[in-house]
């Protein structure tokens, strides 16, 4: 387990009387897609927020890239190489698609307080940003306002922004949410190839995608991980069937 890039041990978070994360222990190893599934309200997004540093855990430790990051805020964690996408697209609506990705590139290349160089003529930002847009298939939308592109394209843009950060690990919060079957299929293929670049912690409701992609699956129910294992192990697990898959399987 020591080779895990990201590991959570006994992470707990309580909102009033609601236990959102109950002693969660899981890890993310190089080259893998680790899917986190569970019924609505199980605490998946809350857990992503704790890993990303947007919510402070009550107790437990999070290690990333060999360091305990409990004391790091979301900005520091992002800069260390944790890139997250949002369940509901969270973009800069008035920026062009390209500017959205360039902003992420600025973070990587630094010099944020550069005041006199026009950003749109800066090849060291534009070119890598365009490269990421091409990867997700949005290059022809580069000059459109992010507010004006379709929902599916916004999901792709979320991915491009995360890619532009060149992270050491991805936290993807329902990247397929609201996508049509065609888009989901395309994104599944894309994520399949992405794991070799950096491991992915994938929260997803689309079970076809999860079973196609995941090297390991953890099942979260009422804030607790009730099982972790390979796709076959999870499919055969009685607790999981009862608590989760049983509902529609």
């Amino acid at each position: 387990m020591s080779d895990a890039i990201l590991s959570l041990s006994n992470v707990t978070k309580q909102f009033g009387s609601l236990l959102a994360s109950d002693n969660v222990t899981l890890d993310l190893r190089p080259g893998e897609i680790h899917a986190l599934i569970g019924p609505n309200g199980a605490g998946k997004s809350t857990l992503i927020k704790q890993i990303a540093g947007e919510i402070k855990s009550d107790s437990g430790d999070i290690h990333f890239d060999g360091q305990n990051i409990n004391g790091f805020d979301a900005v520091a964690r992002s800069r260390m190489g944790l890139a997250r996408t949002f369940q509901v697209s969270s973009l800069m609506p008035e920026f062009s698609v390209l500017q959205n990705v360039m902003l992420a590139r600025q973070s990587v290349s630094g010099q944020i307080f550069r005041i006199f160089k026009p950003v749109l003529g800066d090849k060291s930002l534009v070119e890598p940003a365009m490269a990421q847009l091409e990867r997700v298939g949005l290059a022809d939308r580069a000059q459109m306002r992010a507010a004006d592109i379709s929902h599916g394209e916004r999901r792709q843009l979320e991915m491009a922004v995360a890619l532009a950060l060149e992270p050491k690990a991805f936290l993807l919060d329902e990247p397929m949410a609201g996508m049509g079957p065609e888009g989901s299929k395309r994104l599944t293929g894309f994520l399949d190839g992405l794991r070799s670049q950096a491991p992915i912690l994938l929260v997803e409701h689309d079970m076809d995608a999860v079973f196609a992609l995941a090297d390991r699956i953890s099942v979260l129910v009422y804030g607790r991980i009730i099982a972790t294992g390979t796709v076959d192990e999870i499919r055969g697990n009685d607790d999981v069937k009862r608590a989760y898959l049983g509902e529609d399987a």
Partner: protein
Amino acid sequence: MTMNREFLINTILAFALVAVPLIALGMDEPFIITLATKVAIFAMAGVGLNLVLGYGGLVSFGHAAFFGIGGYAAGILASHALNYEPIMESPFLIEGTTQMIVIWIVALIASALIALVIGAITLRTSGVYFIMITLAFAQMIYYFAISWPAYGGEDGLSIYVRNGFPGINTLDPISFFALCAVMLAITMVFSAVLIRSRFGLALQGARQNPQRMTAVGIAPFRIRLVAFVISAMITALAGALYADLNRFVSPTMLSWHMSGEIMVFVILGGVGRLFGPLAGAALYIILEHLLGGVWEFWQLPLGVLLLLVVLFARGGLVGVLAGERKHV
């Protein structure tokens, strides 16, 4: 297309600002030149505020503090120089000055330091709290000026002779106008360059979506603080020129009415538009002059106009004329 139309409108605005006082000069109407100078100075104060209000989305209701600090920098330094009283003698001698360049540098440094303190505290809040706390800080400085008898207190401070600038007779209205117009142009070019830079992109990003900024590893606070300081410096520079225009500075320059007026220039002209403050200040002065001459309650139609702009034309005057932007 809209881009070109905005460019056209900006050109017309800039041309009008220069042409009107030149025509007034030919017609021997120095009062019109003074009005145009006032427009240039108010526009500049608005350019400062627009940086945080328009591009940064931070509604500062305390920019009169910086406008007044600039004004008092001019007033205090000039009064010491004109009365031959050093500002301090020990441990080393600091004398007053009637040189605008020195005054401007003092105004820039003083406003930057105070903006750094105010910003560091207020930028930890947002929304209505930010508005109220910036207002509170400005009011603190306002009451401080009122209760400080050394520099006139409530009565203010006169500058007997307008401060000087090398190679220019600043007492000549058209020369002083030219100086103010050039300073306005410099701050606008600076502002245009700034918003197109990495820093400008980050500032506008922080306005639209702080959550996303954090997720890509850029802390909005530092970006906003630097913008707040730069914004204050530009407004202070305008304040120094305004004191010299009137040859008088008083706590009125620090009052919340003034903060409101600067805000009106920006909102009326177009929030987040480069030429918005100029359009807004010009419209304000024209209304004040034309309506104010015939009707005591000229601010009533101004209020209605402002209401209409806020409700139906968020891009202000420039927005109405130039149309909506494609993207930032």
